[in-house]
């Protein structure tokens, strides 16, 4: 093998080494440490599976997973339903020269801190907040509703954030769609609704699924929003994980719960990848 060939073969490895090193250092090693910790008995040390068996034996822990999945599913569906028309209006109805500004306005809430945004929602939804004042002031309801510190508040906070994220992924997908597809469909006699259902929607599904998967992953692992807006009236998995650390410092149980959560995310990924083939997108 010539020196030139050797160097040609070494170059890709040299280029990819920093990324591999980064992944090894900041993902693989912490993950292995977490996996080892999850198999260790708290305080006493030594191998144990009890951290995992606790999750399956304790209905409150199970309930946290059920709550997390329910909230995540609701948030993902509502976010897609709101983001798609929004992205479509931006891509199709807003003149090209205004699209940049419109997009910027759409993602404006991203510019504020996530925590500040969550506390702002708490004030908006509070008993004396804008929403309740509007509802009682207009006579729709005689008494203020309990909006803050509920699952509804958690979902609202999440949807506000994820609609922006999904709008961006769907908008990008819509913009990549060649107008020829729609023209061809029209030539073949399809009306706007049929064109949308049979041409545009299937072709933008990868964008929807990528956005939905990102929403799922970010939502199911989020601690801040349910903690601030949910009022701890139900526990989600990230809150359950944090609870093990605070006073007792039970890192093994926290690690086991985190790995179970990661397993669920992995299953969701595999499901998305298999059904929608986003790995080839």
């Amino acid at each position: 093998m010539s020196a030139a060939t050797k160097s040609e073969r070494a170059l890709p490895w040299a280029l990819v080494t920093p990324a591999l090193g980064w992944t090894l250092l900041f993902f693989v090693l912490p993950f292995v440490a977490m996996a080892v910790s999850s198999l260790t008995a708290h305080e006493a040390g030594g191998f144990t599976l009890s951290n995992y068996s606790q999750f399956f034996a304790n209905p409150s822990y199970w309930q946290a997973m059920v709550n997390s999945l329910q909230v995540t599913a609701i948030v993902t569906v509502i976010s897609v339903l709101l983001a798609y028309p929004f992205a479509w209006i931006l891509a199709e109805q807003v003149p090209e020269r205004w699209q940049r500004l419109a997009l910027m306005l759409a993602v404006l809430p991203f510019w504020t801190s996530y925590v500040v945004r969550s506390y702002s929602w708490l004030l908006v939804l509070a008993q004396n907040g804008v929403v309740n004042r509007a509802l009682t002031g207009s006579g729709v309801f005689g008494e203020p509703l309990q909006l803050a510190n509920t699952r509804l508040a958690t979902v609202t906070g999440f949807v506000h954030f994820f609609v922006m994220l999904l709008t961006l992924t769907i908008f990008a997908n819509l913009k990549q769609l060649s107008p020829s597809y729609r023209k061809a469909a029209a030539d073949l006699g399809a009306g706007p609704v049929r064109t949308f259902l049979h041409v545009v929607l299937p072709l933008t599904l990868p964008g929807i699924m990528v956005g939905a998967f990102l929403t799922f992953v970010l939502c199911i692992g989020d601690y801040i929003t349910p903690q601030i807006l949910g009022g701890n009236n139900e526990l989600l998995m990230p809150q359950l994980v944090m609870m093990q650390i605070g006073r007792r410092g039970d890192f093994p149980l926290a690690s086991a719960l985190s790995i179970i959560l990661m397993a669920v995310v992995t299953i969701a990924y595999l499901a998305c990848a298999r059904w929608l083939k986003i790995e080839r997108a």
Partner: protein, 368 residues
């Protein structure tokens, strides 16, 4: 940057040699910075603290008097604090603020240095908060109580009948349903539930947990939210709720100026006494400075500043704290002997019971 016209034209240099010389320069600068950093570190005090110790009004006088810098790192929960220590190098930390009941945990791990009792104002402390059962291990003092207060009923006296707040039964009755928040920390609120059913907090066993759980579920059914410090404080201050289970002077005193309607009671069943202590690390490289810091915090001036910290107020452990009359009134300083007589100790379960208590708390949170 201007170029001196008298300077001879520089020779065109190999880019690699330029890069090399710049890297050498950068390394030299970094080495200098590190050296300066380590020098500064030797003169610094590194403290693992709760948020009340981060107040500049508390730290600055000590820093100026001793010509040192106090580096602080905040944490919440003993487990999180001990995890920080475990992930650090021995000697990284000099002092730590810790729940008084958790001092034995640190001693078991071999973290703390015995404190010289003759150099601390132990005689000036309120006797009930010295907590010798926790702060003294095997005859040696490893911690000193610096601040205390009560997990009890915090309330808005313009919205509820203060007479109702004299009994824990008000928390589970129908009168204030939907007007209650619960402080999200299992030990003190479990202590309050125990008091409500006539149990002594110092004698809780696993057999008491079913009855405690039942009481907690009744409280939850009446509650609008279960919130950590900021959330529960905000809920009470904004009128979202009128009563905070587990609240006390640590919630109401700091807000007294903005909202004088907030108050707390020590109900007839009693309240849970919380206390925080200072401990010195065995591996501290600045033990002399660490002791000076503890002495400062325990001095009448330091105690007054700590008691009225911007993060949260609380009673100073030193009865000679240099508080103003107004501050004493807000903290209900003169009523302390009576309060202390009725307060019960913070639950201090062993690891097994602690885990079971947390599981009961989890069940309560998940209950609909």
């Amino acid at each position: 940057m201007s170029v001196n016209p008298k300077t001879p034209n520089p020779t065109v240099r190999n880019p690699l040699s330029v890069l090399k010389s710049r890297l050498q320069g950068a390394c030299a600068a970094a080495a200098l910075l590190l050296a300066a950093g380590s020098l500064a570190q030797a003169q610094d005090l590194n403290a693992l603290i709760w948020c009340d110790h981060a107040d500049p009004a508390l730290l600055q006088p000590f820093e100026e008097t001793n010509g040192v810098k106090v580096n602080v790192k905040e944490f919440e929960g003993t487990g999180a604090g001990l995890a920080i220590v475990e992930q650090s190098q021995p000697g990284d930390w000099d002092v730590m603020v810790i729940d008084s009941i958790d001092i034995p945990r640190g001693v078991e791990k071999g973290l703390f240095e015995p404190l010289p009792e003759d150099k601390l104002p132990l005689a000036d402390l309120f006797p009930q908060v010295k907590m010798d059962s926790s702060t003294v291990v095997n005859g040696k003092r490893y911690g000193i109580t610096e601040k205390f207060g009560y997990n009890t009923i915090g309330y808005n006296k313009t919205k509820v009948d203060p007479a109702d707040m004299q009994s824990l039964a008000a928390l589970t009755g129908d009168k204030y349903k939907g007007k209650i928040a619960i402080y999200d920390y299992y030990l003190p609120v479990i202590g309050m539930a125990a008091l409500a059913i006539g149990k002594k907090t110092a004698e809780l066993t696993e057999a008491d947990l079913p009855a405690i759980k039942e009481e907690l579920l009744k409280m939850k059914a009446n509650a609008k939210l279960v919130g950590e410090v900021t959330a529960s404080q905000t809920a009470l201050a904004t009128g979202e709720v009128d009563i905070l289970v587990g609240g006390g002077e640590w919630v109401t005193a700091g807000l007294a100026k903005e909202n004088p309607a907030l108050d707390f009671s020590i109900p007839k069943e009693g309240a849970v006494l919380w206390s925080q202590s200072l401990a010195m690390f065995k591996d501290s490289k600045n033990k002399e400075l660490a002791l000076k810091f503890i002495q400062y915090i325990m001095s009448p001036e330091g105690q007054a500043r700590l008691a009225t910290s911007s993060c949260y107020w609380g009673m100073p452990a030193n009865s000679k704290a240099a508080l103003s009359d107004e501050q004493k009134k807000i903290l209900r300083f003169d009523e302390q002997p009576e309060f202390l007589a009725r307060a019960q100790s913070y639950p201090a379960p062993n690891a097994d019971l602690d885990k079971k208590m947390q599981d009961v708390w989890t069940e309560m949170l998940q209950a609909q």
